[in-house]
């Protein structure tokens, strides 16, 4: 479903090259929730943006349903839904108009769009404020509109960047339910987050990024088996304390997994 092949991105900052993502590769299958985890600046969001074609990779490529992002960026965009905490809403438009607009640009036929808006409104409980101006909505309400927006074209792949940032317990619960819903619908999901406790509950598999490199990949059970740690947080703290040593361990673990 999603194949990421040695994606690398070098940024220029103060006339110096900074390696933001270094040959990251992984695969995500249909109905699988993959957690791309790491501290701030690890390269999670950059990887996500490269998969969607919003950032041009310095080298490497990504593939979604057989389409390469380097060759068919629009085909990828058609098949991917994006949820990002930084995403805003058009403040002068109502949620209904926003959803209708995105249905238009993704080429969803009018009748189908109306049905999907009704369905998603019920699912995310936004019906009561569907015709209110977006600027007047609360943070949680905006987040729910954004979730509905990302599903308006019923994409087979979902990319989520820090979906629970800034949300309270109730808001986070909505996201958890949403991800379960996506898994049930058979979508391939990548969730970028630094909330490791949440990731443990949400994801089927993890890829740990540190300084742009993928240090570990596997299920929680596999990780617990290879380390003496019980939680992702403990594993991560260990990784930060001794990155070089850990990287070696990680490579061994990967080999075992393969």
């Amino acid at each position: 479903m999603i194949v990421v092949k040695e994606l690398t991105r070098i940024f220029e900052a103060d006339k110096q090259d900074v390696l933001a993502v270094d040959q990251v590769s992984f695969e995500v299958q249909q109905g699988e929730v993959y957690g791309l985890l790491g501290p701030n600046g690890a390269g999670k969001t950059t990887t996500l943006r490269m998969i969607l074609g919003l950032l041009q990779p310095t080298s490497g490529d990504a593939e979604v349903e057989g389409f390469l992002v380097s060759r068919h960026p629009d085909e990828i965009k058609r098949r991917v839904g994006l949820v990002s905490t930084s995403a805003g809403l058009y403040q002068w438009l109502t949620p209904r108009e926003i959803l209708s607009f995105f249905a238009d640009v993704y080429g969803v036929p009018h009748q189908e769009a109306t049905e999907r808006i009704a369905k998603l409104s019920r699912l995310f409980e936004i019906t009561s404020f569907l015709d209110r101006r977006a600027a007047t909505l609360s943070t949680g309400q905006k987040q729910r509109v954004n979730l509905a927006r990302s599903l308006i074209h019923n994409p087979p792949v979902m990319l989520m960047d820090e979906p629970t940032r800034g949300l309270d317990v109730v808001g986070s619960k909505v996201i958890f339910d949403y991800i379960d819903h996506l898994r049930d619908e058979g979508k391939a999901v990548i969730v970028c987050t630094h909330r490791l406790d949440e990731a443990e509950q949400l994801c089927d598999r993890f890829g740990l990024l540190y300084n742009g490199k993928k240090c570990y990949e596997g299920t929680l059970a596999e990780l617990q088996q290879c380390t003496s740690c019980q939680t992702l947080t403990q594993i991560f703290l260990q990784l930060l304390a001794a990155p070089v040593e850990y990287q070696e361990t990680a490579t061994i673990i990967q080999e075992k997994v393969i």
Partner: protein
């Protein structure tokens, strides 16, 4: 999970889906901007406040100007001395009558709208100059002098047969220039004095209880089309006002829909949608244009209402605010709004915040004021060079248009080039808007445009090729003017310098753009080695196409045009006669063929073919090729359009068929070379009467034979294409 083919089949028909998606995009942009209260404030409140104030200021300024000017001069011309003496006597009598009425404290009975604004004229008496026409001139010349703007009004006395033959009677015709508010004012001034005498006469007649029933004279006022006076006309301010109006309207939406979109965090989701960037920019352009036009319309209404209320409309627009004037201004508004919307969107596309966008726009606003002032420069004439200079062209066009002096050809060149610059600005915006540097980085700048692409491309992007054309166009015109200034060198040297310079420009500038865009030279310039058959076909076409170009030129050229062209080129023709044929062949056949083909059918056509169908790509490249040939330094040779367009079509077709630029170069070289050789040996050909000046058509046998050979030529190239296709198909099997 659906497969990719299932997904494709679910999509609706391509064209209707595209329209559907674009209209959705446009609807969103318009909703967003028109609901914004800040747009409404700029749209409604600004004009409501600004114009009444501006009107007051203008009136004060105008009155101040009049006071500073001191005595105003009214120049009145009459056909002969006797009529002059008669008018002068009546005029002074009328003047005295009006003065005595004023002294008696009576309100002036004859009051005109234009006088309302110029109240000081009543205080400051103008200096009246009665001029007498040279006796050798005829009567028509009175009108002619008014028309030419040499005098303010002309007065003619026409005697009228009356029942009482013992009494003289007649009519004074007062002729004024319709395009001059001043002239109209003088006519009214004279008419008032003559009327005063008439009314005085009538009053006295009534007193005498009708002893006479013949009024000694009547006065009628008639207008002639006139040249506006060389004095400063307020109409020249209108382009500057148009700049301010449209820019004020376009600034806020341009910033809000680009930098504002990023600031609100909606840009990423928009860029994540499968929409071509040019679509996004086009929808934003239409939204900005709509707001700019709406703002300008509200501004215009407020301005005209202010002008009307203050009695300034005749001062501004001569004949006042007519529906024709309104239409003229509306048309100009759309042109200005389209230009500014595109340019502002281009600039704000670079910005990542409102603040940054404002910082970018301030220099633009200041720079735009300078061409606005151009309209006020007296004696600055619109030339083909001005017609292609952005903004300056529409400023001069507006001035000439409102003064009814616009030349249709230059009008279209100005409008066309403005539209072209608008498209280039939008292409540039599409190149940068929503790219990762704007989306995510904080240190991008204008130099990003000139950064070399990391990826290599087989063909140039269309906006890259268009930008290249936009740079090439003015540089080429400038370089041609530069060569013409090299007076010291011989014509042969000049031809060689010009040829080399053109060749370098056409080669270096596209090469630079190819490097910036990471374009592979072989595919980007269509340098693929051609088949022998294609070359043979092209050579045959090179020898046989010229009769059609010749016939087309004859059809286009008029007798007058041939005469003016032959006068223009008489000296050049003599000079060219001394140039050795090889110099002419190198500078006018080999070098132009090489550089024009490499650019128009190489770089530009490959970019076009990548985006549109073969038919449209050939058509567009031929059109641009023909326009390039029409503009020669500071003049336009419109007759070159059709033959160049025809050649462009043939060369484009040959290029597409042979998939290489090389056969076209051969064709172009032979075609130009042959025409030059014929011109060099024109005397030898005189018996065949191949001479443009004679406008003799070629014998039908020649045309028929050429047509046959042209068909054979195209056939050969087509066959070569088929054999290449079958070979490549065989190879892949």
């Amino acid at each position: 999970m659906p497969s990719s083919s299932d997904f494709d089949s679910q999509r609706p028909a391509k064209t209707s889906a595209m329209t559907f998606r674009f209209s959705g995009l446009l609807k969103k942009e318009l909703r967003e901007i028109l609901r914004d209260r800040r747009t409404i404030i700029t749209l409604v409140l600004m004009p409501l406040l600004v114009y009444p104030l501006l009107g007051l200021l203008l009136q004060k300024f105008f009155l101040n100007q009049i006071t500073q000017m001191g005595k105003v001069e009214y120049r009145i011309i009459l056909p002969n001395d006797s009529e002059g003496q008669m008018l002068r006597a009546l005029f002074h009598k009328g003047d005295k009558l009006l003065a005595s009425k004023q002294k008696q404290g009576e309100a002036e009975t004859v009051k005109t709208k234009s006088d309302a604004a110029l109240a000081t004229f009543k205080q400051e008496k103008p200096v009246i100059k009665f001029l007498i026409l040279d006796q050798s001139e005829n009567r028509q010349s009175v009108a002619a002098l008014v028309r030419a703007g040499a005098v303010d009004v002309g007065v003619r006395y026409i005697p009228i047969e009356t029942p009482n033959h013992d009494k003289d009677s007649g009519r004074f015709d007062i002729i004024y220039g319709a395009q001059s508010a001043h002239s109209r004012r003088v006519a009214e001034y004279v008419e008032q004095r003559l009327q005063a005498v008439r009314w005085d006469y009538r009053d006295r007649l009534l007193d005498e209880l009708g002893t006479s029933d013949t009024v000694p004279f009547a006065a009628s006022v008639s207008a002639v089309e006139s040249k506006p006076g060389k004095a400063f006309s307020l109409v020249t301010i209108v382009p500057l006002i148009l700049i301010l109006m449209t820019m004020t309207g376009a600034v806020y939406p341009a910033i809000d829909l680009t930098a504002g979109e990023r600031e609100r965090g909606t840009l990423e989701t928009l860029m994540a949608a499968p929409l071509p960037r040019m679509w996004i920019l086009s929808a934003k352009f239409i939204a900005v244009l709509v707001v700019a036009i709406m703002t300008a319309l509200v501004n215009m209404t407020a301005m005209l209402a202010t002008a009307y209320a203050n009695g300034l409309e005749t001062v501004l627009f001569g004949e006042g605010i007519t529906s024709f004037v309104l239409l003229e201004i509306l048309l100009l508004l759309v042109i200005f709004a389209a230009f500014f919307s595109a340019v502002l969107l281009c600039i704000t596309s670079f910005a990542r915040s409102f603040k940054e966008a404002q910082a970018y726009l301030i220099p633009l606003m200041l720079i735009s004021m300078a061409p606005g002032i151009l309209g006020m420069v007296p004696d600055l004439k619109m030339t083909p060079v001005w017609a292609v200079i952005p903004l300056a062209n529409i400023v001069l066009l507006s001035r000439d248009f409102l003064l009814h002096e616009a030349q249709p050809l230059l009008f279209f060149v100005s409008v066309f080039s403005t539209l072209f610059y608008g498209v280039v600005a939008l292409s540039l915006a599409a190149r940068i808007f929503g790219t990762d540097t704007i989306l995510y980085q904080n240190n991008s700048s204008w130099t990003d445009l000139l950064k070399r692409s990391h990826q290599t491309h087989a063909v140039p992007a269309l906006n890259n090729a268009m930008l290249c054309l936009a740079v090439l166009f003015p540089v080429f015109i400038l370089s041609a003017s530069f060569v013409s200034r090299l007076g010291e060198i011989s014509i042969s040297q000049r031809l060689l310098v010009s040829g080399t310079l053109t060749f370098s420009l056409f080669l270096l500038i596209p090469l630079l753009f190819a490097r910036l865009g990471g374009v592979k030279l072989k595919t980007g310039f269509r340098l693929r080695p051609p088949r022998i058959l294609a070359c043979l076909g092209a050579i045959l076409l090179g020898f046989t196409l010229w009769p059609f170009a010749y016939e087309l030129e004859i059809m286009v050229l008029s007798d007058d045009r041939i005469e003016s062209l032959s006068k223009l080129f008489e000296s050049l023709k003599l000079e060219l006669g001394t140039v050795p044929l090889w110099v002419k062949l190198v500078s006018l056949a080999v070098l132009p063929a090489l550089c024009e083909e490499l650019f128009f059918r190489g770089y530009l056509l490959s970019a076009l073919l990548n985006r549109v169908s073969n038919k449209w790509a050939i058509l567009a490249s031929s059109l641009l090729f023909a326009v390039f040939h029409v503009i020669v330094r500071d003049s336009l040779f419109i007759e070159r359009f059709f033959p160049s367009f025809l050649m462009g079509l043939c060369l484009g077709y040959v290029n597409v068929l042979s998939r290489s630029v090389i056969p076209g170069i051969m064709l172009h070289m032979i075609h130009n070379g042959l025409l030059l050789t014929i011109a060099s040996y024109q005397d030898s050909f005189s018996e065949w009467e191949i001479n443009l000046a004679n406008q003799k058509h070629l014998p039908m046998v020649w045309l028929g034979g050429s047509l046959l050979l042209v068909i054979v030529g195209f056939f050969l190239i087509r066959i070569s294409n088929r054999s290449r296709q079958s070979q490549s198909a065989g190879g892949s099997d």
